[in-house]
């Protein structure tokens, strides 16, 4: 018997829990349409900034085998591109606009254009690990993060804060909930380095990049578990979900939706169908009637 995969993520209704994570094929309208058609429950745009950014020169990704290191440099067509970026999506597509910037004003401006274009939610990328002044330095400063959050929450759209691996993230969670954010995307990539031992050079043109993929899954899972355990808030659990198994674990840890990113390295986006089938099969096998009954399941064990 087919299972209902639909889920609620805060105020959003998703046809299934898989969310295209920000940064992956989300800066072109035909690719975004393809991602939606591939079956995602929601698609997140690439982080858009007030002005277009070219990003870094290649190499911008490293395949480590156990994960990926990337430093794309927030390459994006700029927030003014948003109407065009959304132009090929059907009416019922659920869109999360990811935005990045250096100041509260940058974020506000981007979010305003998002609201004008009727995005379903705004994700604040406060934790990009490879662009100075537009990422980890923000999320590591709880006070500054809260200024940004306040600006965007005031626009009245559901706001998700994308967290990075910091010592203070639980404090940021608590205080941003007070400011009215709806939930969290957990987690961003973790700053790392790869060196080519043939040439001796750091591989990424930016030297440092963000680690994603299987290597960070247990960390992301732990953060989801901690936040859900403490606050029972909507979470998009993102980090090393490369099969239905990690997706199920994310739901069990407390995520209401599951972000898919590194799974798409060297894989066509249509392959997410395998993850959806795997989740469905698991639900049948374990007797779950819906996704909601799986969210936070490990907290009852």
């Amino acid at each position: 018997m087919a299972r209902d995969l639909s889920t609620r993520l805060g105020s959003l209704s998703l046809r299934n829990p898989l969310v295209l994570a920000s940064g992956f094929i989300g800066s072109d309208e035909s690719l975004l349409r393809r991602a939606w058609e591939a079956g995602f429950g929601a698609v997140t745009t690439k982080s858009l900034t007030p002005r277009p950014r070219k990003g870094y020169d290649p190499p911008i990704v490293v395949d480590l085998g156990y994960g990926y290191l990337n430093a794309v440099g927030l390459a994006n067509p700029g927030i003014e591109y948003l109407p065009r970026l959304l132009s090929l999506l059907p009416e019922d597509a659920v869109v999360i606009l990811s935005i990045a910037g250096a100041t509260p004003d940058d974020f506000r401006r981007c979010a305003e254009i998002g609201v004008e274009n009727n995005v379903d939610a705004v994700e604040l990328n406060l934790s990009c690990p490879h662009v100075k002044g537009m990422g980890m330095d923000i999320v590591e400063d709880v006070g500054y993060s809260l200024e940004i959050i306040e600006e965007v929450v005031s626009l009245g759209r559901p706001v998700y804060v994308k967290l990075g691996l910091t010592d203070t993230y639980l404090e940021l969670v608590a205080r941003s909930l007070d400011k009215g954010v709806e939930g969290f995307t957990v987690m961003n990539t973790v700053r790392g380095l790869a060196i080519d031992i043939e040439s001796g050079w750091p591989i990424l043109s930016n030297v440092y990049g963000g680690l994603s993929g299987p290597a960070i899954h247990p960390i992301a899972l732990r953060m989801v578990h901690e936040i859900y355990g403490e606050y029972r808030v909507p979470i998009i659990g993102t980090g090393g979900v490369t099969s239905w198994r990690e997706a199920v674990a994310m739901l069990y840890a407390g995520a209401s939706a599951v972000g898919i990113g590194s799974y798409l390295f060297n894989r066509k986006v249509e392959a997410i169908g395998d993850i959806l089938k795997g989740i469905e099969h698991h639900m049948e096998r374990k007797g779950f009637k819906d996704i909601a009954s799986m969210v936070g399941y490990s907290h009852h064990r």
């Binding site: 072109d28 190499p59 085998g65 156990y66 390459a75 080519d196 066509k268």
Partner: protein, 254 residues
């Protein structure tokens, strides 16, 4: 361990390759390397010059590996200026190559786009297939692989824009006049040439075209190599596409 390293190579993601010979024609160079790589013609490798950039290249030979580079940016300029003994770093191959089919194929290459086609001709010839290789270049002194195609026992025809060698004009003229005599078309060249070939192949002759875009990540995630409007990525869905696939996905002008 092989799988652990991105399906790639030996002890590291990149293989070091030493240039053994350089063969230059104006702003284009054939770089002969000291490594071999198993590839399907049309697939590409990422060529990295530490301190500069990493650029995608479809090899023109794989045993030993040979890349054919045109100077368009700072990294490719450096590559074209390389001498024997210089080093570069290779990962891959990536992407989807040409389908090797028997019959009587027509291979059409324009500029450095001829690179994967001469490798394709070589692989087809190894299967006992005999086809026609057509190459288009701006001038006669830019001719790249006509001699190699003849050595395979194939018919090889050169078109030059200035008429300084071979036929004057574009290789698409040959396609237009001789399409009926072939069982399949393979093309790789500048966008206008690819478009013209796609248009000529509308009537159903099997046709595969290798497309060029700016490939940055090479693994289908950054989106820089999207073929506008189609949702297709050159690095992951291509670089070789079937004509009907491009047309169905709304490739403009196809």
């Amino acid at each position: 361990m092989e799988r652990m390293l991105g399906g790639c190579c030996k002890d590291s993601l990149y293989q070091e390759a030493v240039v053994t010979r350089v063969d230059r024609r104006g702003d284009v160079a054939n770089l002969y390397l000291d490594i071999s790589l198993e590839t399907i013609p049309g697939q590409f490798v990422m060529v990295w010059l530490p301190g500069l950039e990493e650029v995608p290249m479809a090899p023109s030979d794989d045993d030993p590996l040979r890349i054919t580079v045109k100077a368009v940016g700072r990294t490719t300029r450096r590559l074209v200026g390389m001498e024997a003994g210089d080093r570069l770093y290779i990962r891959g191959p990536y992407g989807r190559g040409f389908t090797l089919r028997s019959g009587r194929p027509l291979l059409v290459g324009g500029g450095v786009g001829a690179a994967p086609l001469i490798l394709l001709a070589k692989k087809l010839a190894e299967m006992g297939v005999e086809g026609v290789y057509v190459e288009g270049q701006p001038t006669g002194d830019m001719e790249l692989f006509i001699g190699e195609a003849l050595e395979l026992g194939w018919e090889a025809i050169l078109y030059t824009e200035d008429g300084s060698m071979g036929h004057k004009g574009f290789p698409t003229q040959y396609v237009e006049e001789n399409l009926g005599g072939f069982t399949g078309i393979y093309a790789c060249g500048p966008e206008p040439m690819n478009r013209a070939v796609l248009r000529l192949c509308r009537d159903g002759i099997p046709c595969e075209v290798s497309m060029e875009r700016v490939v940055k990540c090479g693994v289908g995630v950054c989106g820089s190599c999207v073929i506008e409007g189609t949702g297709l990525l050159v690095c992951l869905d291509g670089p070789v596409f079937r004509a009907d696939e491009l047309i169905r996905r709304g490739y403009p002008g196809g």
